[in-house]
Symmetry: C2
Subunit: 578 residues, 2 copies
């Protein structure tokens, strides 16, 4: 039976707790948010000893359910000051599950400047000094671990950004090939890990056991039904494996919602050379890899391996949001330069969305011109060096906006708005404004109905019914984030009712009881309500559930439209969750 492990970094002790009633059958975001809400003082400084870092595989992670390898990390965020859950693919969550870990709860804080390694095995968790890894990039950091622990392990690590406790710092998670390419990206959870003095967590699942479904027959039936639905959907079955997430570049550009040069336009004249279609051709031509899975058991395989002109590995993907953040949003149309930035971000442990948005604000302020790819790369190297400018860039768009006296700073609750302009895709704007997590497209991906025609169709330029749409998506997403399932299962969920049936059978089979879709969604509602209560106690109010003013005053070409959803509509979105 999986247990909760507490790692106290003040006295370097570890304890194992059998899961009590309140946390039983919670996984992923449901578990991280419950523990953070129960244990972290809402008013604490996110980098203080009072904060907790909670790492939890999803409820289905490790069971063999398809696409169920997500790792949730939770804490009070140094970027948003809200409760935060950021989840990642890669192999660590599956390995944690095999080691019998329901969650790792990191408390306390060691002496300043000390670095440690945690080693997780089915026997428990050990803590070792790791000062020799100081200021090392994620690539070198994990390479050293594979040298010592062999290639069966996985790693969660921080780069220099996390060590510097920068607000855009990630927790990197190794992929199937053992590269630190997957990230709990948003909200600076790498800075929280850095504040706990943990450089890397190595998970060695040797001799570990898969969690077994109580009702194997029901579970297996669910797996088949679920996977058939995934593979039958045009997005998860065809477009994502072939073109990856960056298939969206041309789609959003055509919709006029592809934010360009710090959200000044909704279309980018240089979209073609950075589009998913072009990316596909480049990768195939150079001998890279498309249809790559970031963890075992992923049947969608949206990832890719990007190589240079000599066929040498550069980075994974890069993903749609990364290509947008370092590309269109900075006026950059050079896919190779973007891939280099993705590689540097992964190595430093920086959220690509926050970092690209931050560089765009710096461009707006005149630090470097829009379109200057080499200048943008130099800014990233400043982060590595820990210069004042680098620390600014690593602290996110809001801080750079403040230091440079800028008004056009696209953030909600301190977190950068991602790759869909809320004026041309009003539904996603509702999610940005109201999410418990700060601006986050994954919190309630209304792009589906607004642009993709998945799950129905809603006029993206109209405020009509966007609040209800976002609410329903946020509830369902929160439920999915508890299971360890990748959010990309949602396309099939929205279009094909057998998908949800499959999920309920997998969950029901695993737990050995009936599970209805309503029960499943109730999970989501309860978790969201917990998160909202934490945020309210931390001082958040409806006044924080707003987009920056310029989205209401500046018309976005080509539709020449502002964000139209009213404050009153926004205030209904997550009301009455209990």
């Amino acid at each position: 039976m999986a247990a909760i492990f507490r790692v106290n970094m003040s006295d370097l002790s570890v304890s194992r707790e059998e899961t009590g009633e309140i946390y039983r059958h919670l996984g992923g975001r449901a578990l991280t948010s419950a523990i953070v809400a129960d244990e972290v003082p809402p008013n604490c400084h996110p980098l203080s000893a009072e904060n907790r870092l909670v790492l939890a595989p999803g409820l289905l992670t490790g069971t063999g359910a398809p696409c169920s390898g997500r790792l949730s990390a939770g804490a009070k965020s140094p970027l948003t000051h809200t409760i935060k859950e950021a989840n990642s693919g890669g192999m660590a969550a599956i390995h944690l599950s095999l080691c019998g870990v329901q969650a790792i709860v990191v408390t306390g804080q060691p002496a300043p400047g000390k670095l440690y390694r945690l080693i997780v095995t089915p026997k428990g968790i050990a803590i070792e000094p790791a000062d020799d890894l100081a200021r090392m990039g994620n690539y070198d950091t994990v390479a050293r671990q594979y040298e010592r622990f062999g290639n069966k392990v996985s790693c969660m690590s921080i780069g220099p950004a996390g060590e510097m406790r920068l607000s855009a710092a990630t927790i990197a998670v190794t992929d199937i090939e053992g590269r630190p390419t997957r990230h709990c990206g948003r909200g600076g959870l790498g800075a929280v890990m850095g504040s706990k003095g943990i450089k890397v967590i190595v998970v060695d699942p040797t001799d570990g056991q898969r969690p077994r479904p109580v009702d194997g027959v029901q579970f297996k039936q669910g797996v088949e039904r679920f996977n058939t639905a995934l593979m039958g959907h045009p997005l998860s079955g065809e477009a994502l494996p072939k073109f990856g997430t960056n298939a969206l570049a041309n789609v959003l550009n055509a919709a006029g919602g592809y934010p360009t040069r710090n959200f000044r336009q909704g279309t980018f004249e240089g979209v073609e050379p950075i589009s998913g279609e072009h990316q596909h051709d480049v990768i195939v031509e150079r001998g890279g890899k498309i249809a790559h899975a970031c963890h075992r058991g992923c049947t969608i395989r949206c990832s890719r391996i990007y190589v240079d002109e000599n066929g040498q590995y550069v980075t994974k993907g890069p993903e749609y949001e990364t290509v947008w953040a370092h590309g269109a949003n900075c006026g950059i149309d050079d896919l190779d330069a973007i891939a280099r930035m993705d590689r540097i971000d992964d190595d430093l442990g920086l959220d690509t969305i926050e970092t690209g948005a931050t560089i765009a604000v710096a461009m707006e302020a005149g630090v470097i011109p829009f379109g200057d790819a080499e200048g943008a790369i130099r800014l990233l190297e400043e982060v590595r060096q820990g210069t004042a400018l680098g620390r600014l860039i690593g602290s996110g768009a809001e801080v750079v906006g403040k230091a440079y006296g800028q008004v056009r700073v696209p953030v909600v609750k301190g977190q950068a708005i991602p790759a869909y302009d809320p004026r041309a895709v009003q539904g996603i704007g509702v999610t940005y404004a109201t999410s418990t997590q700060g601006a986050d497209h994954t919190a309630g991906y209304a792009v589906c109905q607004n642009v993709l025609g998945v799950g129905g169709t809603v006029d993206p330029l109209s405020p009509q019914s966007q609040a209800e749409l976002s609410r329903n998506l946020q509830i369902a997403t929160t439920a999915i984030d508890a299971t360890g399932l990748c959010l990309f299962v949602a396309f099939a969920v929205l279009d094909d009712p057998t998908t949800m049936q499959g999920i309920c059978e997998m969950l029901g089979g695993y737990l050995g009881r009936e599970m209805t879709a309503d029960e499943f969604l109730a999970f989501g509602r309860k978790t969201l309500a917990r998160e909202r209560a934490f945020n309210a106690a931390a001082g958040f109010t409806p006044a924080d559930d707003r987009l920056p003013g310029f989205f209401q005053t500046e018309k976005l070409p080509p539709h020449n439209i502002t964000f139209q959803v009213t404050d009153e509509q926004l205030d209904t979105v997550l009301a009455d969750l209990d």
Copy 2:
């Protein structure tokens, strides 16, 4: 009759409005806060065209009432994101009053990079381009104005910090000698002026008229009673003229409440060479000036002229808070170095409190060591150059704390805590936490009763009765801030009932009606309630009325005490003002 002048910086137009009923008989903070609360969207970006900058002399300013020359500046603050009033001595308020200006309300925003000069005379307000003043320090800026407009004028100006729209930027106000040594210091109002493209406001009172009391006899009787009380009090009559505000250094050090090295200790081993007593001797020996008035009609004369070893002018004061911020709080005991920093701050237009506190956080982060005076001066020169590090320093302690991943960041609502440790002076901690302005000692100076034995005696180490004390002080202070009277009249107000009688006679005589102390305090309550309502609409809650966590967890030597006032007590302080 004085009028409200609206200056629209979007179309460079000026209009004059007769004062309507709602703003009649409002001055200073009462007027700036009323206009900001009525006209500024609480959620707007403080540097956007939607913000207003309101400049208003006090109600008694220009009447000849002693010590009544304060200028109030109001806006939504880019530092605290609250409503903000910061007031200053100097000559500008008196001159505005002579020109018939009840308030200047600056709206809109010109094209980026454009700079303007306003010229205020009894005939009205003119706007001129002033691009030739770009990036000029306040000293050179005002010298150019005196060259052109003669030495009868006064100036309100911003330095490079305000032009860069940095959150610690001030509005400088010239003193009797025409030097830019007085400041609307706190909350970054210089950045708001910079965002409006106004480099300098020249006020030429030639042919202006003093506002006349309706009942001259009552007014004159009040003036005499009031001034007799001021001069009879040991602080305003003796200590302040002789030793200046820095008389407090030894007093706070003896009380164990003199924050040292970023609030790590309550006593500074190097206090003697930076004390007011030593400062007095240095100034007298070198041929500087003590008992200097910052504006005509000041009878307290707490300012001084600080000169170097050759008797050459360096700066005014420096004041207690400045000596603390750049001195003890940074572990620096060199008064000449501190005076140079004060001069640079005045020239750049930086709040000395915020800037010293920021440098101390940078020292905590290891940017330079504690005690490094030359390093601190170099940091200020980085601000002048507009480097990334300089922009960080000019953005205040919270931003530097974020960029350097620091937990011990002494701010409330984003504004640095000033020169009295809230653990050793618990009453002032209540004011820091609950003020509508962010951490601000002048908002309710409980140091009086906690340390100075003025207005009674309260145990500074006990939470007992501190909430009520702070409430009463905050109400009275807000009323005083409406009159244009310097806050240093409060010592006599607290100890000698004839002082308040004199104030009421001056106000009553000026307005031509009876004025009671209760009516006077009602002014304060009403203004505070307006400010609280603005902040609530901007998203502030009781969770924001808290000190940083380390004041509750770290014991301050030598008393080895934490901040003891409970959250529940804090929540009573400004409840039920209406």
